[in-house]
């Protein structure tokens, strides 16, 4: 086959680019003007109105989700399966990243003292310590108030993993390892989070063994299954049924998962060179 000249390749590129652009413009305008009408519309869809109206409807408890936060009611109640399987996608992606970056045959990859005396200045280090503390407090509050205020397990997990990331940037991997933020500890915490989510989702299944009709992932009593429901709260401590537990376990799974990935990224390059060079 004759090799393409530079000019032919350029023409080719321009044609592909123009084609993609025209296709996208037509598709998006069809969506904006045809399917959804003029956006933003004054009224939202009936489905969304249903969720907003019933999420905290104390007058119709066979349809409610016991949470004032409509987004959270969907994430863990009305569309709980969606989130459950997205969590499994996340779990598998982290497993993939960890198994690609693993170092076979090397147990303790970072020995103490190699990087001592290096790092950023004192100002950066002190400020980072404060910021890490603040991030941890905010992340925990996002996680346990996820059923009442904006936030939830996903956001809190992402926030807490950033604390480990700036720890890595301002100090080093050793700083985190001395504070027990190691892959050895984070992997079990992540598994604990995912197993916790699975167990909370399976509580109705255990109840069903006694002969009561319940649905998997059921939170509050439903029309067809009125005999089972998680306690929506204890006095002033509002749990929103099972959503508090889901948010907490998701926080563990996401936070530990991302921390593991960042720790794997931070392994010094010469360890890889040593191990991969021996192959």
């Amino acid at each position: 086959m004759k090799a393409k000249t530079l000019e032919e390749e350029k023409t080719h590129e321009v044609i592909i680019g123009a084609g993609i652009a025209i296709l996208l413009i037509l598709t998006v305008f069809a969506i904006i003007l045809g399917v959804t009408g003029y956006t933003p519309s004054e009224n939202i869809r009936p489905l969304a109105q249903f969720y907003l109206y019933y999420a905290m409807n104390t007058f119709k408890k066979e349809l409610w989700a016991a949470t004032p936060e409509a987004v959270n009611s969907m994430v863990w109640d009305y569309r709980g399966y969606d989130t459950l399987f997205e969590t499994s996608v996340f779990f598998l992606a982290v497993i993939g990243a960890v198994s690609v970056l693993r170092l076979p045959g090397v147990k303790d990859v970072v020995s103490k003292g190699i990087l001592s005396g290096r790092g950023l200045s004192l100002i950066v280090k002190v400020i980072t310590k404060f910021i890490v503390a603040f991030i941890l407090i905010v992340a925990i509050s996002i996680a346990i108030h996820g059923n009442l205020t904006p936030g939830g397990g996903f956001q809190a997990g992402a926030a807490v993993s950033i604390a480990s990331l700036i720890g890595l940037a301002a100090f080093s991997r050793i700083f985190l390892e001395e504070r027990h933020v190691t892959t050895k500890l984070m992997l079990p915490i992540r598994v604990l989070g995912v197993v916790g989510i699975g167990l909370v989702a399976l509580v109705p299944a255990f109840i069903a063994l006694s002969g009561i009709l319940v649905f998997a992932m059921q939170n509050q009593p439903k029309v067809w299954a009125p005999n089972f429901g998680f306690p929506p709260g204890f006095g002033d401590f509002w749990l929103s049924g099972n959503q508090f537990y889901y948010n907490f376990f998701e926080f563990l799974a996401v936070g530990a998962g991302f921390t593991v990935i960042y720790l794997m990224y931070s392994i010094p390059e010469y360890f890889y060179k040593e191990v991969l060079g021996k192959k």
Binding site: E13, I16, G17, I20, A21, L24, I25, V28, I32, T36, T39, P40, S41, E42, N43, I44, R45, L47, A48, Q49, Y51, L52, Y53, M56, N57, T58, F59, P68, E69, A70, V71, S73, M74, V75, D82, T83, E86, V89, F90, A93, V94, G96, A97, V100, L101, T149, P150, F154, G157, A158, W238, G257, F258, I261, M264, Y265, E269, Y272, K273, L276
Partner: protein, 129 residues
């Protein structure tokens, strides 16, 4: 055509431009790192587009009820003013999944570079695995 309508169309055009750039980056750029960057731009643009669909005109409020003991009037007012929470719910999980998939792809790219010394897909296909 009102000013707000023009601004909305301008925002949609910006999103179309971002999608066009990111699709071009994914399809035509040979460098794997640039492909990953383009992919994450694509994901973020799609998320922004979904959020826009859920917005409502007028006095829109957040989809969070400020009380644990609402009256019927409060619930109806909430239904008539809050923005659509469904796109927010979908985007919330999509962002984290996007981040984890990006982390996985970056891990693959890093390992490819360590083992074979290239991030160019044209070079990588010639390698003997």
């Amino acid at each position: 055509m009102t000013l707000s309508q023009i601004l909305w169309i301008y925002m949609y055009l910006t999103l179309i431009g971002l999608i066009a750039v990111s699709v071009y980056g994914i399809v035509r750029r040979p460098n794997l790192l640039k492909k990953i960057i383009a992919l994450s731009i694509f994901g973020d643009t799609a998320n922004t587009f979904i959020i826009f669909i859920g917005f409502r005109r007028g006095a829109a409020t957040v989809p969070i009820l400020p009380t644990l003991n609402p009256t019927l009037e409060q619930l109806i007012a909430f239904k008539n003013t809050a923005v659509d929470p469904l796109p927010q719910c979908l985007v919330l999980t999509a962002i984290v999944i996007n981040m984890s998939v990006t982390a996985f792809l970056t891990a693959l790219a890093i390992q490819l570079y360590r083992l074979y010394g290239t991030l160019d897909v044209r070079e990588a296909v010639k390698l003997k695995w």
